[in-house]
Amino acid sequence: MKPVLLIDFGSTYTKVTAADGESGELYATAQSFTTVKEDISLGLENALGELKSLSGISAFDECYACSSAAGGLRMVASGLVPSLTAEAARRAALGAGAKVIKTFAYEMTEEDIGEIDAIAPDIVLLSGGTDGGNSACCIHNANILASAKANFPVVLACNRNASAKCKAILEASGREVIPCENVMPSFGQLNIEPTQNAIRDLFLKRIISAKGLSKAQALVDDIIMPTPAAVLEALTLLSEMTGELMAVDLGGATTDVYSITDGLPTRAGTVLRGLPEPYAKRTVEGDIGMRYSARGIPENAGMDRLIKISGESEDGIQKWIERIHENPETLAATESERNMDFALASLAIETGLVRHAGTVETVYTPMGVAYQQIGKDLTRVNKLILTGGALIKLERAQEMALLAMKTDAYPSSLIPRDASVILDKHYILSAAGLLKRNHPEAAKVLLGKEFT
């Protein structure tokens, strides 16, 4: 027996999991409100107290934590062409578990610097140009970034021929610069791992203490990664065991969507266009969520569909959305409120899936019909995992995901259409991702028991 404590410092809840580092057995889970403003260890003590009484374990051999508290890892990404290096940079940051507040393309302006100063990001990612390609843009942007007032380190993943110059410019302004390989070394080639490693190192080195989490760090062996990165690790491990899969993490403020698959075309005669997709891909919808961001759901999916799915009146839905936006801790208490939450969740999942998945377009050529695919084809993914505080608390979670997949509103979208839906009922995804670091076999057992 080797009890391991796994902690997830969320923006709202601190979630703790007790699992065995050898057998992978899940002992217990517990949660308490995060207390990052006062002293983060208070919330942790509360959760730990509950966990210890539930599991009967009083001492742990090891302890690891991930965090999305205090705003998570906030980043600004930049590149040259919006659909190329700027998009590659954004994907690299998202895959490293960051919250990408803004993505800039082409040459930045003085006004943009004002905006970056206002954002005060934890890290800025500067890219642009393939190796040997355009170097004017990233050098210009390095000069612009050097004039920023906010104190942020810069991860430099641009054209390698311009990298040294950009580094010199930024360092002359007293900024920490971490040069790494280009996010797009040659046209259409995505190389985001070196950047993600650099982001992760920075997260450990400076972001944790900057966010007042160092007190928590003293309590645990290590805060090893941002929470979304831990979730992505767990999903990747699970897919090694059971094949390609997707996951939706529906939170109060954002909806995260993950896919672990190459997403290559499944139909013959399809031409693949656009930037290559990462095998393990994460997207974040900042305007879609079950509480703070509930307003984004009718804005995107349409009020008429909310009315239809919930069976409630427009007036009632409006009032409910306003209420949960103002008081995010509100739980659905009546039958009608539960119906509205059901419709909101279903449409949030649908919108998240549609934005994450690729599309296929039929092209009529003089030589006959051809298909053009942009993004990932996820139609054959047969496993969809649902997680997130909002989803786990809701009833009929399976049903709302099935409804989202059966939508006829987006005929050209390549979302999964017939996946089996599995609920992360003990909320162990991030814990399993943490456990994987030093105990991959135990993490496999833990995931296997929960999701197969």
């Binding site: 062409v81 190329l84 040997g132 390609g133 355009n134 092209v363 050529t365 003089p366 030589m367």
Partner: protein
């Protein structure tokens, strides 16, 4: 040898892939750094690839007869995207039916293409023209 980068592709809804592969091979062998976009390439994709890769030339193929429609406005969009003075080449069966090549060439040059090649042009001809044009660009760059 200086860095000579070009963007290559078959424009529009054209799916003729064989000639594209031959050109990719021939141009690469001749020492060019070829960014090959393959078939069914839109004007925007040519331009975006040229911006990122810092290409000095865009080489457009069209085999299915609709090239004239597909190529219209490419020069204007290049100018708009900051690719001022980029070399634009076009070749293949670029118009409908059998028309006198001189007229076709004139129309495409009026659209802003530097060089226009008719059907059956061997790659060596295009390579020779490319080298000449690159040398002019490089001299101009040095003079600056």
């Amino acid at each position: 040898m200086p860095n000579r980068t070009m963007v290559l592709g078959v424009i529009g809804a054209d799916v003729h892939a064989v000639g594209n592969q031959i050109l990719n091979f021939a141009f690469t062998q001749a020492g060019f750094n070829v960014v090959n976009l393959g078939v069914m390439v839109s004007q925007e994709e040519f331009i975006e690839a040229a911006i990122e890769s810092g290409a000095q030339a865009i080489v457009v193929s069209s085999l299915y007869g609709h090239g004239e429609l597909d190529c219209r406005g490419l020069r204007d969009k290049c100018d708009e995207a900051g690719l001022k003075g980029i070399l634009l080449y076009v070749g293949g069966n670029i118009v409908v039916g059998k028309q006198p090549f001189e007229e076709v060439e004139k129309r495409f040059k009026a659209m802003g293409f530097n060089k226009v090649f008719g059907p059956g042009t061997p790659p060596e001809v295009t390579i020779k023209a490319l080298i000449e044009d690159y040398e002019i660009l490089e001299k101009a760059e040095k003079a600056e």
